[in-house]
Symmetry: C2
């Protein structure tokens, strides 16, 4: 265990004070060019690396962002984290990644970990949306910016970056109408989660314009359920002429049923989904037409917001990432 080089070592070697070394290393204007050079050279030579703990202890901040998500193993959060990681790296920040498993207790513990690690900021997709903000409060009180993303509290006084959930559903509905679909199976997620409610409401509203279209609304809590729902619907006497899938998870179930029943897409039936980036839609042939709600883009946006916050722009606001239609050949 080769002892770590410290400022003291350098100062001793050069016969100057520790503070001069410290200042020289960080380009303080007071230091003479000559000294600066000298210090820099020796520091490089000795392989000096600052002790981040001492710095953090002293300055009371760190170069780490905390990210709390329900689960890492999820396309959406995955893309989000990836984007934030890319940006953070550029400004010399690292990521502390925590999974809440959708459990408010674990989430509370994760928040505590963020505090303990004195993270410079927190990006969080909440486990259970509620109006109770107390568990997040302590962070902001300590001056730690907290940016909520995707699943956010139902409260105004906080920073949020969200997907245009309603918008995505409306875009899908519009696309279906343009194709003149008349008998649509629409599969949404678990009825209790807020994103389901938002998308369902917006979708149905947008569909109202087309009174004569027959709409079958279903809820699937898993890919498996969506498989079953789709199978049943297409085994019925009158087959739907289009399926709308609210998410990738649902889409995968539906597509499995399509394969099983050997349904020809888009001739027998059209498919449209709301998907995170292009991964799942591109898995199939023909490729799926989908409304993109990009975790990756949202990550970039969240990073922007937290950067702004840290550089002093401390107002609260909600940023919305627009959705867009990506044409495949499935509709």
């Amino acid at each position: 265990m080769s002892a770590k080089i410290t400022l003291k070592d350098i100062s001793r070697n050069l016969n100057i004070s520790i503070s001069t070394v410290s200042r020289a290393l960080k380009g303080h204007p007071d230091i003479s060019e000559e000294t600066r050079e000298k210090v820099m050279r020796l520091a490089a030579l000795m392989d000096y690396e600052p002790n981040t703990y001492a710095i953090s202890l002293r300055t009371n901040k760190s170069n780490i962002f905390g990210i709390i998500v329900p689960e890492i193993s999820n396309f959406f959060y995955h893309s989000f984290i990836s984007a934030v990681e890319e940006e953070s790296k550029k400004i010399g920040f690292s990521l502390l990644i925590l999974q809440s498993g959708n459990d408010p207790l674990v989430e509370a513990e994760n928040i505590r970990l963020c505090r303990l690690n004195r993270v410079a900021g927190v990006l969080i997709s909440v486990a259970a949306s509620s109006k109770d903000m107390s568990r997040y409060q302590k962070l902001e009180e300590n001056g730690v910016p907290i940016i909520f993303f995707d699943k956010v509290p139902d409260v105004d006084a906080c920073n949020k970056v969200c997907l245009a959930d309603e918008d995505a559903a409306v875009l899908a509905a519009t696309a279906l109408q343009k194709k003149g679909k008349q008998h649509i199976l629409a599969i949404f997620g678990h009825p209790d989660i807020s994103i389901t409610q938002k998308r369902k409401l917006a979708f149905i509203n947008a569909m109202e314009k087309n009174k004569q279209a027959k709409l079958i609304i279903a809820h699937a809590g898993s890919s498996r359920e969506s498989f079953e729902i789709t199978k049943t619907a297409f085994l019925a006497s009158q087959q739907p002429d289009a399926v709308f899938c609210m998410s990738d998870e649902i889409l995968t179930g539906t597509m499995k049923a399509m394969q099983l029943l050997k349904i020809n897409i888009p001739n027998d039936t059209g498919i449209i989904s709301i998907s995170n980036d292009d991964f799942i839609p591109h898995l199939y042939e023909p490729e799926i037409t989908y409304i993109e709600t990009s975790g990756y883009q949202l990550g970039k946006l969240a990073f922007e917001r937290i950067s702004d916050y840290m550089s002093g722009k401390k107002f609260y606001r909600e940023l919305i990432l627009p959705s867009k239609l990506v044409e495949g050949n499935s509709l």
Copy 2:
């Protein structure tokens, strides 16, 4: 910004010394039951949270593991990270996650970040496998255990946890032979990467036993390429009666071609792959028969190894995670 409670605050309140408080809080045997009680209660009441930076500065260690992977957005690494996160949480450790983007320079920078953050250990899948261990050396010199996983250096004196790559290929070959497949399209990854070479060699060797089987070997650097290869092979006069896909990425391309050509699985042709966990194989109908090489399991194994190392078991060794055949209905 409500000021953080420190040991000093507690000691002042109780009119005892800081050291007594410190000791009481961590259950030092010297402290009287009475004092301990008193301190504990007040600490809880005041919402005391130790300053991890001060602790780390003092003790020169942290409660953070560093994980360096080529990319987070990859099933395999994803599962791996997930598993390590779960285990780490149990012992109060967090994860610093870094992406190398397969760039040795970025990797070096990531390693530096791990050192700077005084991580308690590093789990790394290397960007470019070589015999040059110097860039990893400094960590171990500082007493930081480093566990290589999946893509590991070609050197004995280090700790590795690996998948049974050869074994997986052999299992696949055996399964194909059992089904009496005679005309097999085997698609491997990019010829330069080591895992391709290992799997290819093992697969071909295992296939040798069945001289009369016709083997078409192909290499695909992407899902798209595997799609093209499969399409071409099945458009030829004599169709293969089975396809072996070396990875999930390749499998997705192959399956897209299957859908395009409306090939019936397993009647027209059988499919078998080497896959990470069950996600991709379960996307299709029928579900794909695959050899499982689990990133999740590997994560658990890596965590075990690093725990062992930290509790004093400091020998070098290579741990191999066995592969196993998971039967779907595609072969």
